[in-house]
């Protein structure tokens, strides 16, 4: 019998493994990785009690009323926030879109400043969407106090940045020759947008906006955890008081809400197609 052939990559694999372990060890230390904490009897008992309270979900009248109000508030936050984001995103996207630039078509004095303006608008979009919406929400809660206004503004800022960037990308990705032809024959930028780009891009723009609304519903719940109103704030309170029944009722409503947003967005996209 001959010995089995050696793995020709054995040395490389061994090095990679040793390197990975050498990186993992300090990482586990920094993250205070401690699986034993999961089996600590006191915290297990607290957690068990909390989870045991999940069944049955809280169904008393006063709480259900509160829950319904919070759900509507969450939906309204998402819708209002996205509307503001749209208002913020459209002008920025129009500035950033290269296909709509008159100065790029021919040699002219406006080329340099226009490029500068576009770079500036792109920077604004990056800054707007850099921080997660929860961070903005936390800051706005400090500035405006508890309540949905903070969440709406946070959504408007981050989603304004995202929508603006993606709108510009979508407008660039379709056939830009009609818009160029229009611009070259002297039409205005808005006309070039409306007749040159939108016919090809409208459906994708609409469906992306609807998809973002769906994300905004989820984000509105999350932002509630820092005090921006809606379902999240209610969930935070119930969890801090370890009220399992209320927490499970809110979680169920949240899951249903996500499903509903999913359904509405699928329906809207079908209608818009």
């Amino acid at each position: 019998m001959t010995a089995p052939p050696r793995d020709p990559q054995a040395r490389g694999r061994l090095t990679a493994l040793v390197l990975a372990l050498a990186l993992l060890w300090p990482a586990l230390h920094i993250a205070q990785f401690n699986p034993a904490a999961l089996f600590d009897t006191t915290s297990l008992r607290v957690m068990g009690g909390f989870l045991a309270g999940f069944v049955p979900p809280a169904l008393d009248r006063a709480f259900l009323h509160l829950l319904a109000q919070a759900t509507i508030e969450t939906l309204a936050m998402a819708t209002a926030g996205l509307a503001l984001a749209f208002v913020l995103a459209v002008p920025l996207a129009l500035v950033v879109t290269r296909a709509l630039s008159v100065s790029r078509i021919g040699p002219g004095p406006g080329r340099g400043p226009a490029a500068l303006l576009r770079a500036g608008a792109r920077l604004v979009l990056t800054v707007l969407r850099a921080c997660p919406e929860v961070v903005w929400a936390l800051l706005f809660v400090r500035a405006f106090g508890l309540g949905p206004a903070a969440g709406v503004l946070a959504l408007a800022i981050t989603y304004g940045g995202m929508l603006g960037k993606v709108y510009a990308e979508i407008l660039e990705s379709v056939d830009t020759r009609p818009a160029r032809a229009l611009l070259e024959s002297g039409s205005s930028r808005l006309a070039a947008l409306g007749y040159g780009l939108l016919p090809a891009a409208a459906q994708e723009l609409a469906s992306y906006t609807v998809y973002r609304w769906e994300c905004a519903v989820r984000a509105s719940v999350v932002m509630g955890f820092v005090g921006a109103g809606g379902l999240g704030q209610l969930m935070d309170q119930s969890m801090k008081m370890l009220n399992g029944g209320e927490a499970s009722a809110i979680l169920i409503v949240f899951l249903l809400l996500v499903l509903l947003a999913d359904g509405i967005s699928a329906l809207l996209r079908k209608v818009l197609a």
């Binding site: 993250a31 915290s43 957690m47 961070v135 800051l139 206004a149 999350v222 935070d236 979680l251 809207l268």
Partner: protein, 266 residues
């Protein structure tokens, strides 16, 4: 001339009705929230806002505080990396039954579990994990891992189902064991895709890890929450700056990496 049958154009009123309904929904939302935008931009609100913003300047740049921020940044990075790594392992394990390899009941059950893991947001998992594992970055790792495992498990399962079955079957019919057939017949096909999904989620998780600290799960978020609670705006400004820098750096790095890895798609 041939007549090409075109689909009947949608009546104009459908589009109008959708637009009107959307406008009505937006108006109703503003009315329900009693948001008065004019009040937000009134002179009084503007001065209050300006005062709030100026309190953040100048940011705290003492050496020892910067060192604290740097270590919190490192912690955020490590939390996101470990959370994604754990999720990668769990997602891979759950993807096998979810792709229908162990029968239909197992498939339906794991899909349900994955959906449940995925639909609970990271921050909610964070609150639960802080209860279970105590305050600190470990809770953040677990929270990220649970949510991301749901996301990755589903994506991995879809990649498995879409992978061509022929190589694995050939190995099986040639007499190799199930594990070896999977490792050499299927894994090389889905591996790069799994890795791409994992890296993409890591990028998102870095951002999320920065925010997870708000519920007590360590890193930059916990620091920001702490200093804002004590009205130490100068310190908070430094932490926000660090968050911002982290996100921009990760964005740039991932864009460059993606360009390097996918030259064909430019």
């Amino acid at each position: 001339m041939t007549v090409v049958a075109t689909p009947a154009p949608r009546p104009r009123w459908v589009g109008m009705a959708v637009v009107l309904a959307l406008l009505a929904a937006v108006a109703a939302s503003f009315a329900y929230l009693a948001l008065d935008l004019r009040a937000l931009f009134s002179a009084q609100a503007r001065t209050a806002m300006a005062r709030f913003v100026t309190e953040f300047f100048p940011p705290d740049t003492r050496g020892e505080f910067l060192a604290q921020v740097a270590s919190a940044t490192l912690q955020t990075l490590v939390v996101s990396a470990l959370g994604t790594l754990l999720a990668f392992g769990a997602g891979a394990l759950l993807a096998l039954p979810a792709a229908g390899r162990w029968g239909l009941p197992a498939r339906a059950f794991t899909r349900f579990v994955l959906n449940l893991l995925r639909s609970v947001p990271e921050l909610v998992w964070g609150v639960l994990m802080v209860l279970l594992a105590g305050l600190g970055p470990f809770a953040g790792v677990l929270a990220l891992a649970l949510h991301t495992a749901g996301v990755l498990g589903r994506l991995f399962a879809e990649a498995l189902e879409n992978a061509p079955a022929a190589p694995e079957r050939a190995l099986r019919e040639g007499g190799s064991g199930a594990t070896a057939a999977f490792a050499y017949g299927c894994l090389p096909l889905v591996g790069p895709q799994w890795l791409a999904y994992g890296l993409y989620r890591w990028e998102m998780n870095i951002r999320m890890a920065a925010a997870l600290g708000f519920v007590g799960a360590g890193g930059l978020g916990q620091m920001l929450y702490f200093h804002l609670s004590l009205f130490q705006q100068a310190q908070a400004a430094t932490v926000i700056g660090a968050m911002f820098g982290l996100v921009v750096a990760v964005d740039g790095a991932s864009a460059r990496l993606r360009r390097a890895m996918l030259p064909a798609q430019g």
